[in-house]
């Protein structure tokens, strides 16, 4: 089955029809999506700023990451589920929307950036845990992460202005 056919099948599903037809489903799911995104960005921002050298609520970077990562992951899971529901309701239109495509690419890039951080600088965190200025690799990860998540939020908001619902 081609991707195009898959998106059409999603659009034709009873779930998608229900979200389109009940006027309050979409805003409720969207509100939950926005809440999840603010939690993802809010918690990631604290860690990224620590990686850039701004102090958080504790000195050690590792403990800070351990404190906040469960919240980031839980909120990210909610964002994925609610985002998938919103996508399904108008799958073909979203799939063809350039801002939506850029948003997905930015999320993938942010994930990749995080994977690189965990495989490199985070492995040696014992060496720089308490350092006010983490090593360059960690600072770069923090900067990329901030920029990519800002891009995710901006592209996400732009979808609302550019999506052609037919």
């Amino acid at each position: 089955m081609s991707l195009e056919a898959l998106f059409q099948k999603l659009y034709d599903s009873p779930l998608a029809a229900a979200i389109r037809e009940n006027t309050s489903y979409f805003p409720w799911i969207e509100s939950l999506h926005v809440l999840a995104i603010t939690l993802v960005f809010g918690t990631i921002c604290i860690v990224d700023l620590r990686l850039l050298g701004y102090r958080a609520h504790r000195r050690g970077a590792r403990r800070l990451i351990v404190d906040l990562l469960p919240f980031t992951w839980a909120a990210f899971a909610v964002a994925i589920v609610t985002g998938a529901l919103l996508f399904t309701s108008n799958a073909v239109a979203y799939a063809h929307n350039a801002q939506f495509q850029w948003k997905m690419i930015a999320i993938l890039a942010a994930g990749l950036n995080m994977a690189v951080f965990h495989l490199t600088a985070y492995r040696r965190i014992g060496d720089w845990d308490d350092a006010h200025r983490p090593p360059l690799a960690a600072r770069l990860s923090g900067a990329f992460s901030l920029l990519l998540w800002i891009a995710v939020i901006v592209f996400g908001r732009l979808i609302g202005f550019t999506l052609s619902v037919f």
């Binding site: 926005v34 809440l35 995104i37 939690l39 908001r157």
Partner: protein
Amino acid sequence: MSIESFGNWLYETPLSTSIREVTWIIPSVQSVHLLSIAIVVGSALVSDLRLAGVLATDESPATVVRRYLPWMWIALIVLLLTGIVMLIAEPGRTLGNTVFWAKMALVLFAFALTLFFRKPLLDPAFALEHASWRGAVKPAAWISLVVWVAVIFCGRWIAYT
């Protein structure tokens, strides 16, 4: 002048018209508004969960609040400014909208909670364990979190009511 005719007057002003005509302004302002609310939510999450005794309990409440309160004030000012731009551009969407006024009341309430329960902690001489209202700190922290969540839901619903 009724609030409705004020809204109509505001809508016709050159400032309001130009914000609407430059098409990139509203999406940009909304994006900044969204990023700022994320800063508030992140700061409120850590501070409130600390005051509720859930997160980072090995750090003192004062240390945690001191780190996040300045970020929160800055984000709140940016929220206010970007919110005013949106209100000037589309007064019809907000001024006559019950959800908008509910959101404003909730923001004021969350702001008052923050001011009352966190600002005293900035004073190094202040000891939370001797404060007469120490018993209210935990419930107030949970209420504050719920109120910020309600603010976000109202914010999204303004577009649909």
